[in-house]
């Protein structure tokens, strides 16, 4: 059974508790009566980071209220309106869920009745989540098909291929902060911006030729002895069987340059 099916089943049964997901980046989805109430992921800025990085509330305020009863303290104490808290929780939850349930997700372990202080602000029904995850995947693929740039330390190109460009606020921050060491996800946490929005804009900037990823580090070439051994009759599974070793030749993966040229050519059709 797939992860999403497993989650759908928990939601349909009206479960309350924490679904811990192993794998990369890993994280936890908090369900309340079958709705997704909150989600956390170490690689994605949470409600606290979004609110403090933007200056909406101070780090001291956040640290003081982040225990149980946090929601009431944030809104009752006049730090946030209930609407702001709802919007921030909804945004951070879907943002974290997208990465927690990404291609690197490992098995799911469910702990019934385990709660999060902010899981009762605004629940997301599973079908809404599922549609949003699909929308996000296709937006990313449309922007730039190679997911490798999401975790690559991007750098601004030194000369741009246009006379004039228009950038959104997130895109400007990405160009200003891309330093060849931080990936889009690192930058999202640093800037306190939605991880998905930053990832999407990073892919758009790569597609526009404004940010570039350093050449991908491919695994070192196999030692000669291993290559020779490959020439010997194999005792393993028959070639073509599902267990046969897949012949992966990363050197043939298309370079960013080729992808950009193909994309530009397609755009002219």
């Amino acid at each position: 059974m797939g992860l999403l099916e497993e989650l759908a089943q928990l939601c349909t049964s009206g479960a309350t508790g924490a679904a811990h997901l192993a794998g990369r980046p890993g994280g936890t989805l908090y369900l309340v009566a079958g709705l997704l109430g909150y989600a956390t992921c170490p690689a994605v800025p949470g409600v606290g980071r979004l609110l403090t990085a933007s200056g909406r509330i101070s780090s001291e305020t956040w640290d003081a209220v982040s225990g149980p009863g946090a929601a009431e303290e944030l809104t009752g104490g006049g730090h946030l309106t209930p609407g702001e808290l709802q919007l921030c929780v909804r945004s951070a939850t879907i943002d974290a869920a997208y990465f927690v349930l990404g291609p690197g997700a490992g098995p799911l372990g469910f702990v019934p009745e385990s709660r999060h202080p902010l899981d009762n602000v605004l629940g997301t029904p599973f079908p809404v989540l599922e549609r949003e995850l699909a929308r996000r995947s296709s937006l990313l693929a449309e922007a730039w098909p190679d997911p490798a740039v999401d975790s690559a330390p991007l750098v601004p190109v030194s000369r741009i291929p246009h006379r004039r460009v228009t950038l959104t606020d997130v895109q400007w921050e990405l160009v200003a902060n891309a330093d060849g060491r931080r990936s889009p996800l690192d930058l999202a946490c640093r800037l306190g911006r939605s991880a998905f929005a930053v990832t999407l804009d990073a892919r758009r900037l790569v597609a526009a030729g404004l940010l570039s990823a350093p050449p991908r580090a491919y695994p070192p070439a196999a030692p000669v002895a291993a290559l020779l051994a490959d020439e010997l009759p194999r005792r393993g599974p028959m070639p073509g069987s599902p267990w046969a070793r897949r012949d992966v030749r990363p050197a043939e993966a298309p370079s960013t340059d080729v992808l950009l040229r193909v994309r530009a050519a397609l755009g002219k059709l």
């Binding site: 979004l50 609110l51 990085a53 933007s54 200056g55 909406r56 946030l80 309106t81 209930p82 609407g83 702001e84 709802q86 919007l87 921030c88 909804r90 945004s91 879907i94 605004l122 809404v128 549609r131 949003e132 929308r135 996000r136 937006l139 004039r164 228009t166 959104t168 997130v170 306190g192 911006r193 939605s194 998905f196 929005a197 999407l200």
Partner: protein, 125 residues
């Protein structure tokens, strides 16, 4: 009344209001909807709204006017109604817009824009 549902219900008390929805235009996610939706499809309306917002924000002439100016709203006039798309100036990172569908006969654009601005100010603190 300072929550999402309160905002949408208040927006529905505006003269001529047929439907109000809150949309995250990063992806075209319908956050919440009260009343009618064009074509009876919140998903399609949210997707169209996202495209409209991106078309506007990606165009330098509209998006980056001088002196701390920023996009506030977009008004679309159709034969049978008005659509007002009012940006939510939320302080933390977000791309949210309130879509109010107004009847053309009974709706009033100037009053609606004023009411929406006040309602949204109340929500975003």
């Amino acid at each position: 009344m300072r929550d999402i549902d309160g905002l949408l219900r208040q927006a529905m008390t505006i003269n001529g209001a047929r439907g109000a929805s809150l949309i995250d235009y990063t992806t075209g996610l319908p956050v919440d909807t009260v009343g009618a939706v064009p074509g009876n499809s919140p998903e399609a309306t949210a997707a169209g709204t996202a495209e409209l917002m991106h078309a506007m924000l990606d165009t330098a002439a509209f998006a980056s006017a001088p002196g701390g100016d920023d996009l506030e709203d977009i008004v679309v006039t159709a034969a049978s109604g008005y659509h007002v798309f009012h940006c939510l100036p939320v302080r933390f990172d977000s791309r949210l817009v309130l879509h109010l569908w107004l009847d053309r006969e009974t709706g009033n654009i100037a009053l609606t824009r004023r009411r929406l601005r006040l309602l949204i100010e109340e929500l975003v603190g």
